[in-house]
């Protein structure tokens, strides 16, 4: 009967749609994982640069990574008044199509005189 056929087609359609959505979700997760790992490697490298820089004024506050132009960073440095320390908040961001991601890291380093 027509109704049976329609119900079968609708069920099949829904199952195909949800299966494909699950598959696409899996692919997106893998892509996010790859981007996240890249961001972590770039973050570690940026923190290394923060550690070795001799003057606070030499620290670039934002920019794009030379290793990977899809990733950018934004850095904010605060002085912790009671301690001889600076706090650095580092955001490494990336954009992949409509999706974007960010890794936030905070670290402390000694005030250089």
């Amino acid at each position: 009967m027509l109704i049976e056929v329609l119900v079968a087609v609708i069920l099949l359609g829904f199952s195909v749609i949800y299966l494909s959505r699950a598959f696409m979700g899996c692919l997106n997760t893998m892509l996010q994982f790859a981007n996240y790992t890249t961001a972590l490697i770039l973050t570690e490298e940026k923190l290394f640069n923060l550690e070795i820089v001799s003057k606070e004024s030499d620290i670039a506050r934002e920019g794009i990574f030379s290793e990977n132009a899809d990733f950018s960073y934004r850095l904010e440095v605060y002085r912790l008044s009671e301690l001889e320390l600076n706090q650095a908040d580092l955001d490494v961001q990336w954009k992949d199509g409509r999706r974007s991601g960010v890794v936030n890291t905070a670290c402390y380093f000694a005030v250089k005189k």
Binding site: M1, L2, V5, V16, S20, F23, M24, C26, L27, M30, L31, F33, A34, T37, T38, L40, I41, E44, E45, F48, N49, E51, I52, V53, S54, E67, N68, K112
Partner: protein, 261 residues
């Protein structure tokens, strides 16, 4: 749906036997209209069709056009489903290999950093000098390497660690215990990172006695009997199938960089 003129209580049951053939409704109408001119009915045989035969025709299932349409639609649906599945499968393979490379890269860089942070100047007699030496393609130094003894317990012991870039791989090896003093013994290298298209080590020598790190001056080689380099950087590019190359760098500040410490 075709409604058969069956009198009495079996009329409803007959309706369900007729199946779903919408194109037959049109053909039935054409049959009714074109009595005596049966060539208009398409597939109908060129003979007089009686009422009982027409009734039988309504039970025959799909016509050729319906079957062709169904096959055409089915082929279209299957083709689009296959192409999307194929694209998805290719993306999955590409991302999977990329994810494995990233995972190996992160693990490898972590071990590389640990080896360098644990490195130290080996205070041996002049007979067995073991210094940090390196160029753009290989380096060796003394570090602490975690091993397992016969009872399965882990321990950290001094070892001479070797890194070498050969072909498209980064190789790692170490010599433990008394083996590290044996200059003639060549280490057994294992593949540490693969799919490398370009790689190199850079070294920054300490420029002063200050405990504060200065701006680093990277060089292609390092050899100093009295000191470790201030920092070591590994730059590498890895190839991924059907994707952009992965360019990464790992820089490590060595714990004891100054000879006077």
């Amino acid at each position: 749906m075709i409604f058969l003129k069956v009198p009495g209580r079996f009329a409803g049951a007959k309706r369900f036997l007729s199946g779903f053939t919408p194109l037959e409704i049109k053909r039935r109408r054409r049959l009714t209209v074109a009595r005596g001119n049966l060539s208009l009915t398409g597939l109908a045989p060129l003979k007089t069709i009686g009422k009982s035969e027409r009734r039988m025709m309504s039970l025959t299932g799909f016509t050729l056009i319906e079957a062709l349409l169904a096959i055409g639609v089915g082929v279209l649906v299957l083709t689009s489903a296959y192409s999307s599945l194929r694209v998805g499968w290719l993306s999955y393979r590409r991302l999977n290999s990329q994810a494995h490379i990233y995972q190996n890269l992160r693990n490898g860089l972590s071990i590389f950093a640990k080896d360098l942070r644990n490195s130290f100047l080996f205070d041996a007699s002049d007979e067995y000098p073991i210094v940090f030496s390196g160029n753009s393609k290989e380096m060796s130094f003394v570090s602490l390497v975690v091993s397992r003894n016969e009872e399965g317990e882990t321990y950290a012991g001094a070892a001479r660690v070797f890194y070498k870039i050969e072909g498209n791989s980064l190789l790692r090896a170490y010599l433990k215990g008394r083996d590290m003093f044996n200059q003639s013994l060549s280490p057994e290298y294992e593949v540490f990172l693969s799919n490398i298209s370009e790689a190199g080590f850079l070294y920054s020598a300490s420029s002063g006695k200050s405990s504060q790190t200065d701006q680093l001056n990277w060089k292609d080689s390092f050899e100093d009997e009295a000191a470790l380099p201030q920092a070591v950087r590994l730059k590498l590019t890895q190839k991924v199938d059907d994707a952009k190359d992965i360019i990464s760098a790992k820089s490590v500040i060595l714990k004891k960089s100054y000879s006077d410490e």
